[in-house]
Amino acid sequence: MGRKRTVMKRRHLLLGGLAATGALMVGWGVMPPRQRLTGSQPLPTTAGQQALNGWLKIAADDTVTVMVPKSEMGQGVLTALAMVLADELDADWARVRTEHPPIDAIYNNIATVTDGMPFHPDDQGVIKRTATWLTAKTMREIGLMATGGSSSIKDSWLPMREAGASARAMLVAAAAQGWQVPAGECKVDKGVVTHAASGRSARFGELAERAAKLPLPNAVRLKAPADFKLIGQPMPRREAAAKQDGSARFGIDTVLPGQRYASVVMCPTLGGSVASFDAKAALAMPGVLQVIAVAGQRGGTGGVAAIAGTPWQAISAAKAVLVQWDHGPAAGLSSAGLHDQLKKALAEDSGFGYFSHGDAASALKGAAKTISAEYSAPLLAHATLEPMNCTVWFTPEASNGIKASVWAPTQVAGLARYAAAKALGLGSEQVAMNVTLLGGGFGRRLEVDFVAQAAAIARALPGVPVQTFWTREQDSTHDFYRPPCVARYQAGLDAQGALVAWTAASAGPSIVQQFLQRQFGLPGAGPDKTTAEGAFDQPYEWPAAEISHNIVELPVPVGFWRSVGHSHQAFFKESFVDEVALAAKQDPLAFRLALLKNHPRHAAVLQRAATTAGWGQPLPPAADGAKKARGLALHQSFGSIVAQVAEVSLDPADPKRIRVHRVVAAIDCGLAVNPNGIRQQMDSAVVFGLSAALYGEITLDKGQVQQTNFHQQPLLRGSDCPVIETEIITSAEPPEGVGEPGTPPIAPAVANALFTLTGQRLRSLPLKLA
């Protein structure tokens, strides 16, 4: 076993950080509600099941059920979090199952909120540490169960290891007491406790009942990394088989006895509402039960809903309703006007300063050479393949206190329950929440507009379960879009070509201000880290720098889109790094490395990607003879560092068609919990980012989204998908985010390659060659 350390107060873990290098003694000096081991209520159990704490149950048949409080949206969290707990428990992986727990404060996501504070990653100052601690403490009590911000592993890593270790100690204690032997002489492997000297053994299922009656241990020992059996192994996805035979249930697959279906048609203008409607024709159609108007809720848009016996009857009826719309404040908004507004804001005011180092203004003035460039990025839709949907069963007559049950593919179980309860005129405690599998999330399902809408619709039909589902057209035109953004970058070089100054200013709407307004009615104000993340929180050692963002209020709902601010800020920043390297007559790799002298982890990631990709080596042409070129980018987001090298060419048959042949990615995400999952997420993040880089653009006319379905909003297809190779840097640092960090670097890597290939510097997304 490794080194032993006693930590008496859990806040020390939060403040001090935790290098995963040795075994660790964890004690609980703090009682509820700040502890995260046991919930406010005992876990619901079935016959023969015992809950040993708030995170796991063990059944008489040895099945270990791990409570996973994060939603599974493809990122592999059911597998990775079960691994984390099962490893400390020394469970038999073949007997491990997963469930989503009831909503409880112990499952609130702390990491994603503390990560959202506007501090530079290199900042270790007392203000940051104090603010982080206070926020973490607050979030444990009033926070949200949320799956987002690439935070699932980071947030659950310690509590779930502690839960596994605590339950293991209780099982050992139960065995040792029964056998009258010292607990320290017992060993655990694959769900069996053994005592070698007496030759006795007992399975978890045999011990669980007695173990559950024992007090929780005051302190437990966590494993040293060398003792991990599951963590670090490339484990296959747990729920894969169900997704291969049609038995997996996504939200839209919810089927309840007597279920009815509702289809909605919302005002085509974002934020609009129903002025009046005529449902005569719709109500005469087969199977139609009701047609109602539904107000836009939680940032959504108002519309009409047709409730019918089958999904197709509902779709047909909703389309047959004649509606007069009140188009609302967005009715005058077009993409061109929106872009002008952002450009004006950028010119007028540099906004809130997120980072300042040295005197960048003077350094720019004194520079031998200055470079400046303006960039822009459009609105983007999430386009989850499973459209928005939610099933609500309003049961006001129920006698058990549960007045409604909700089945939702949501990333925010607690917020969804709250939104549904409000829409039904209930308290949250009267609503039972069931989180289904998610057919993609990408941040769209951090919003609860569709949950509140489904609840309002189901309220019209008490006692009957109603599934509200959106058509693709409604989904595409009523998203919470990735904010549009414009940016101006400037750099100064001295006579030797060394960087002396770096400034970045951007303008665009704030997601967080809008989110707080629509969820909690809080006035939107103050800085929003997500507007400038990716621009200011980066490792480059700028000798002097100023980085700011000016928030522009727009009547367009904007939301968290995979990698959020990083998704466009990385494009601006990494494109500009290449522009400055060119001006300095330096190789883009060497130029970056020179700015990372005190950031060896970042330099190592960059070197690994470059070496694996053959940076600097001749690049053979494509199979059809087209010339290829490489481009690279480095970006840090959600705690992880990713470098990518893209190889691109142009289609000889259509020289404006960009082809990406190969992407080499290197990632340092700290300790790699499930390398298989990390590789999947890198594939996913690259493909997601490429769809945006090559095609992604939502445009507005009169406040109406012009892209209604996949013919107008193309996604990358299999034939256009590059070969993706992922290098995972070995690390013993605590685990960091994986779902999003692969997305930001791909657009600039491709843009930089295109410049090398064509001499065209593309400063707007999506990338379109002249």
């Binding site: 996805r237 291969q244 089927v255 089958t310 693709r472 999947q680 379905n709 299999g718």
Partner: protein
Amino acid sequence: MTTNLKVNDKTYAVAATPDTPLLWVLRGDLQMTGTKFGCGMALCGACTVQIDGVPTRSCVTPLSAVGERSVATIEGLQGREITALRAAWTAIDVVQCGYCQSGQLVAAAALLKATPAPTDAQINAAMDGNLCRCGTYPRIRAAIHQAAGKLAAG
């Protein structure tokens, strides 16, 4: 009035009107939810089923167009191709969110039946209409090749 519909070797008397897309008959009337709704315009492939072995977008196929033919969905698809594909899907750990995978597997099974050893170009031709928002394309390609190899080896 009902329509007889043969799905996964069973015949159902379906009350849906003849213009109802097969997708919604499967998902609504028969409560077979393995076949997914993605776009409603044959643009994404999530709704792919086989009709007499031919991969078909059920979201734009009216019930009346199916007639006497046999529909096979992800829940009931039989044969060595789908068996080999599922094994390869598992070995390569293809799926992520999984929403498109019913359609991917049903399309891939039809491909292998018609073209037991597909080239990359043939995979592109057969599979390019099946979108995956999670980007499982490289693993899908690898898994189809692996399944083809296993089938060829007997």
